[in-house]
């Protein structure tokens, strides 16, 4: 799934970050179109897998790209990689979409972004710049086993409880949890010392 060589992962991460910064600094529409063409169809796929209809997924993907445009100045390449930043935008819109569905018309908006904003202590947490972390995570993921990747992927994208993942993969629930934990421990190990 993630097949890039180390160098291409690093250059992709830096290139996307540069495109977002071009939008932030110059309202660069060409940079925006490039981001749109790459991320739009992938965000749409993400929304489809999370259960949105064809039309709903298209609208959510458009909303996500509009948010990339309007929030570009808030993008901080020092702390977050470009695709992770875009992922969090899509994630928050998905949460918002699901809540709106539940409220069924009752008009009421709560901003999702602050719910993920965590104050850092006096020492900022970031040791690695965003695009460095991004390419290291992408490279580390190529070293996970297929099974480990599949559990991570299912738990991120299919909005499935672990019990459902167990059913889908026909493995016991305990195996799903332990595989997920193993996969994440492995990732952390590959990424170096975190604590």
């Amino acid at each position: 799934m993630v097949k890039e060589t180390p160098n291409s992962a690093a250059s992709d991460a830096a290139r996307w970050a540069a495109l977002i910064e071009a939008v932030a600094k110059r309202e660069d529409r060409e940079a925006f179109a490039t981001l749109f063409e790459y991320f739009g169809p992938r965000i749409k796929a993400f929304m489809r897998r999370s259960g949105a209809s064809e039309q709903g997924a298209d609208e959510l993907a458009q909303e996500a790209l509009l948010a990339v445009w309007s929030k570009a100045r808030l993008f901080d390449p020092g702390s977050v990689g470009a695709s992770a930043w875009i992922f969090t935008i899509a994630r928050n819109l998905r949460i918002d979409g699901l809540r709106r569905e539940k409220r069924a018309g009752r008009d009421h908006t709560v901003e999702i972004d602050p719910e993920f904003h965590v104050d850092e202590g006096p020492q900022p947490d970031a040791i690695l710049a965003g695009s460095q972390l991004e390419s290291r995570v992408r490279n580390a993921m190529t070293l996970l086993s297929r099974d480990q990747l599949r559990v991570i992927e299912l738990s991120f994208f299919d909005d499935k409880a672990h019990a459902e993942i167990a059913q889908t993969l026909q493995i016991p629930l305990g195996t799903v949890k332990s595989r997920l934990r193993l996969a994440m421990n492995r990732l952390r190990g590959l990424l170096g010392d975190f604590s």
């Binding site: 993630v2 749409k44 993907a61 509009l66 100045r73 994630r91 947490d125 949890k177 997920l180």
Partner: protein, 216 residues
């Protein structure tokens, strides 16, 4: 603050993936306030999300999507970081994430000798209820059993049970499997944020006292 008890990694991943309901999300976010290690894990998981996103097979956007969106760009006002909202009754509680401090909360209610609770009102329907529980030093409780899970984040003070000693910043995931005795062992009040799901089946006298109130 030295933290000894962390949420399991699958919960941190579910947090980063945006899959927790709001009550559980609040509990994990509360732990993150005091825990750089778990913040780092969540940050890494968000980068895993980014990598997975770029690896998804693309689904074509509707034909005119780019033209439509470009036409809308002019009308868009660049976002700025949101201004702080008005403080509510929870602004005096240490260790809560900023967004939680803005939620309305009821007053402290007496629920049993030495035990008070204060419900936190979530702005969205959630299967998980969230409240603060304040216990005086020396309080002993039999932990209830329930069919769901229970997350506790220690905000101040400390308690001890068979699973270990829990102080400020620590996270305790109750599995509901066994009853065990909890003892407040700090010199001051122990205040925890609790996120609880599922039906309660409380045991013991305090349990019976707690039950009607926690059901809310």
């Amino acid at each position: 603050m030295t933290i000894h008890h962390h949420p399991p990694e699958d919960l941190l991943a579910a947090f980063a993936a945006g899959l927790l309901d709001l009550g559980q999300h609040v509990a994990i976010a509360t732990h993150l306030v005091g825990c750089p290690r778990c913040r780092d894990t969540v940050r890494t998981m968000e980068h895993v999300g980014g990598a997975l996103l770029t690896g998804l097979p693309p689904t074509a956007m509707s034909g005119d999507a780019l033209a439509m969106i470009k036409a809308r760009l002019d009308g868009i006002v660049p976002a700025v970081a949101s201004p702080p909202r008005r403080a509510t009754g929870l602004s005096d509680v240490p260790g809560l994430p900023k967004f939680v401090r803005e939620y309305p909360a009821g007053p402290w209610k007496w629920i049993a000798p030495k035990v008070h609770m204060r419900p936190i009102e979530l702005p969205e329907a959630s299967e998980t209820r969230v409240f603060l529980l304040k216990s005086r030093p020396g309080t002993k409780m039999i932990e209830h059993t329930h069919t769901g899970f229970e997350m506790s984040c220690v905000l101040s003070g400390s308690f001890v049970h068979a699973g270990g000693h829990f102080g400020p910043g620590d996270f305790d995931l109750g599995d509901g499997a066994d009853d065990h005795e909890i003892m407040i062992d700090s010199a001051d009040d122990c205040i925890c944020l609790i996120a609880m799901q599922g039906d309660l089946k409380l045991n013991g006298m305090i349990g019976r006292l707690l039950q009607p109130l926690i059901r809310m």
